[in-house]
Symmetry: D2
Subunit: 346 residues, 4 copies
């Protein structure tokens, strides 16, 4: 396939954070050309009103977001609230590449969907995390891809090698700090700046966050057995970024050294996953705006636990960058095409 070939892309939900990040990354992609933006609430207005940072697209007029409005693109990116993707996708031809940044098509178990989301399951699409064992092949040539959630991206990549390698027991404890963009752009009283600045808070405690079954699904598949996940998300005063601290009890024989070797081997060929040099711990600042995951692993011999910390930008590798990485695979482009490896720091 020629490097010069281009595909047209339409983004729906383009006035939100995930959709805006897709647009930002498309501006730097040589083969994907953003030709239309759609949204439910701002149709008819210039994109620049809601997304002033998207300077080259400022004068694009936002179009409606019904299924019929999305006809004619080579690639359609759905950045919609959960529950909305199914109907939209159903109206698109099979040969259009559809990337769903929402949760609708991630879970394989319809009952799990029903339990956690309380609506009918829209179906299961190939899961867009190429770094999972065997997953890359399923995405090559695919035309429907379920982009992983931001927390599951970080937690799955953090714990998969330990579980696949039999280093730990199948019970994982995760506490993750997230920037506020993970909560979306809706103006809710608890999300206004005065409330979130200078404050850390917990939410969705006790296993009730909807990303939990996605983590369980991913880690169980990797481990080849059911993995329990205790997940507590917290909100920290920054716009972007997730730092996930994950741990599990070590099985006999696991040391900091064997853990490190396992992780280095697991990700040796992954362009977007970086196991940091010994002694250096991840910071979200280093991955801001980049499609990368920074990891570090150690073992606490006193507590008998393996601890992994992962940093990811929830909007980039955690959503929009992950989506375009899948698009590259689906379209036969080199996987890293157009995706930033460098974070914006400080």
């Amino acid at each position: 396939m020629s490097a010069e070939r281009t595909w047209t892309v339409g983004v729906t939900g383009a006035t939100g954070y995930a959709g805006g990040e897709v647009c930002r990354l498309l501006a730097g992609h040589p083969n994907l050309r953003l030709t239309g933006v759609h949204a439910a609430s701002s149709a008819g207005r210039r994109l620049g009103e809601s997304q002033p940072h998207l300077l080259p697209y400022a004068d694009l007029v936002v179009q409606p977001s019904g299924p019929a409005d999305l006809a004619g693109y080579d690639v359609v990116v759905l950045a919609l609230p959960h529950g909305a993707s199914g109907a939209v996708a159903a109206g698109l031809p099979d040969d259009v590449l559809v990337l769903d940044c929402g949760a609708d098509h991630r879970l394989a178990d319809a009952a799990a969907w029903q339990r956690w989301y309380g609506s009918e399951h829209a179906g299961t699409w190939p899961y867009g995390l190429p770094e999972l064992p065997g997953q890359r092949g399923k995405l090559a040539g695919a035309r429907r891809i379920a982009v992983p959630g931001c927390y599951p991206t970080s937690v799955t990549l953090a714990m998969a090698p330990a579980l696949a390698g039999g280093l730990v027991e199948p019970e994982v404890v995760v506490v993750a700090a997230s920037g506020t963009s993970g909560a979306g752009r809706a103006a809710k009283p608890n999300l206004i700046g005065s409330e979130v600045m200078g404050a850390v808070s917990a939410y969705g405690v006790g296993g009730v966050h909807r990303h939990t079954p996605e983590m369980v699904q991913n880690l169980s598949e990797v481990a080849g057995r059911t993995v329990g996940v205790s997940f507590t998300p917290t909100l920290v005063p920054m716009a972007r970024g997730i730092l996930a601290t994950c741990s599990a009890k070590v099985l006999p024989g696991t040391t900091a050294e064997t853990a490190r070797e396992t992780y280095l081997a697991a990700y040796a060929d992954e362009p977007f996953v970086r196991v940091l040099p010994e002694g250096q711990w991840p910071t979200t600042a280093a991955v801001l705006g980049a499609n990368t995951v920074a990891l570090q692993v150690t073992v606490d011999p006193d507590a008998g636990r393996l601890v992994v910390v992962a940093a990811v930008d929830n909007l980039t590798k955690g959503t929009a960058g992950g989506a375009l990485q899948c698009a590259n695979l689906a379209l036969g482009l080199p996987e890293t095409t157009g995706l930033p490896l460098v974070g914006v720091a400080p």
Copy 2:
């Protein structure tokens, strides 16, 4: 003892954050009168140069911090780097109330001190956490008190009822987010604003943070058996506050309801510990500048873990407020005298 009686107080380390917070709280205490400030590096300068928020004390001249310089106070507060308190305290008369905000006199086990701090153990003083079972009585009338560390304050209060009540197994996993003031006022490259704003990072991972043995000591005493603690501290972009997320596997019979009842009962009479109404989760914003701890507890039945989240201001209840709470007990004043119950929010 008359409510009108006053004691003179000298604070050493007054140009740092912990010392500055002691001064701030003394300004609102009716019985304790700040009459002298000391510090190693700024002696001879006005306090207002380093602590411009302490308006009423701006023109106090900082004095040297040697043992002889601290003579003549009724109460001396030590806010010094670890390892420095022992020598200073040794030079003070037995009837002077000495509150050590540093770590030197917290650990009962000299070998543990040696392992974690690498120097000779200065000795063990009554541990200044009145909310621990049986501890309040040991502080009444005491003249040497070891003020708890900020992380141990939050984690101990978070997990003590569950361990004392036999709700959980004795293996606790803690991930705590801390504001940068917990790292002190020294100008280190990784602490400058450009590095910490917009960033969350982990440090001291794998059981190497020096607050770990203090948590183990406290929780083991409460549980009546050795408790393992896996502790990961993270640094978040705010100046003050700790949010500690703590969990442990539940023992049979423990439910969200029994857990809640246990916590409500444990803290029913504690003026500074608040178990929040059901469904409300702690935020550090609500305890900023207050001598309070906000807690919430639940059980995740899928993961089989009890989860407790605690919010505390590391400088107030976590250090300086905790110190003055102990001073009140030691001097026979009502325990809540002069201590703020209201946080500064938003």
Copy 3:
């Protein structure tokens, strides 16, 4: 009047930021006792739901906010949107002390009100800025007081000595940075954390901010002639605080030294205004939560301008603290009663 006498206080708008700050300060006031909280939208709910930092008042039930609901208090504090105070105040007896934290009763010129707010003028009350020449006497014993706006508090105190002392021409340029709490607690899309963190923006540029006529009124009265004010407010990523940078062309003879002397003399006896030592410039951090204003003044001889920088907490001295300072004067209490002089830093 006995120091032991207490007055009951009702606060309406208690679930907002200004109202919440009034409650916070009342918790530390020995003579004013908060006995009721009111709000339009949260009536019937516990105050702790919306104001978790107000621990001692958490279980107060929010009452409706109609005029009849406010009967029976000795003191009523109105923390309402502009336009709402007039009707509420009209229903309260003359001997009740009413403090209006809103704009309704600040402007003396009904036409100016009409121009800037587009509604009928509710009337003019004594203006609650005791530091203005001659103003303190008007507040003693008053029963209706218009609490100044946050920006006008900082700008008036910053420029009054220069204009009263004939140091500058009567054209003032102000650029002020404000924390987001100044915009209130309503959930607006441009105020959510993801938008304001990591960002500075201008708003109300070109003389359209409604605090402008209040500044013009104050400074013109001080100067004895009409003063022009070019005012640009900006929003910065913090919850509280205003830093106002004010300048005007110097008249012949004005130097940094004469300016400094003028300011030191003007505020020598003011308990809440601090002209900083030479070379030290204000930071909002030092006045956070305190009822103080920090000022510094200099002259730029190249540009021929006097420059004053003022720091104030918009919610404390800029609103709620200013209100209680006025209450002290109105009720015959020492002016500083119950008001914090110490900021919460870092």
Copy 4:
């Protein structure tokens, strides 16, 4: 010149913020290839230790920063403290393109340099602000370029059209808010996170900031007469970005409409300068990481002043992006090559 031609680039000061940003942008530039990094203090260490966000360059070893160490590059970027560039540049061949991000070669007036910096003037190089009238031509083919300062970039672009167009009197008042990265990476006590978060402060007040003579030089040249600049910088709690609020008294005939037309005309063909649609005001968030300047202009008829607000990323268009824009011109590449037009938001 072929689009495929590449030039090798060496960056000295690569472990600082300006140097790091040059490296970040080089990672996205198709014709410039970073082949060596240099720094005074970290020589011999991996770049990833100090710049973990520069993933593709993490394993580059930092080399010393003496003149001899910089031999052999096609392009050398100097990101050094002021006073250091002259000696380094003197040792480089004339045909090497040298971009000085420091102040040393910006001022045309040696006496002004001497007054403001107190050292001998290193000389004057072509000034790298292509948007200044007539300046673009001087940069084409140049081999020595003085990259403008961050504040002067924003202020010059903000006020040049008004002064060139005779809209205002030649006395400009500027108050600018800057993120902390503008103060560099040195660990100073006033720059640690605990001090800058939640705080706005002024510094360099009264015309003493060293960027003042550069603004005066630029604006005077544009105006054809001496322009006075009253400049007050303030530090706000974010890592990156400058928001400059600039104003001057209008001359007769200047209205909001004529001002807007003048600005639209002045920047109609500039790829990196955007005059925002009417009613939309700049925010630094929209230009974060982008080589763009966002401007808005209005006239306050009451105060009789034209007000312009400009947003720029101090490290991108304000330093490193501006440098590469000049490099493009100097090397005959399209001016926009490899430079981001899209900001990273939220």
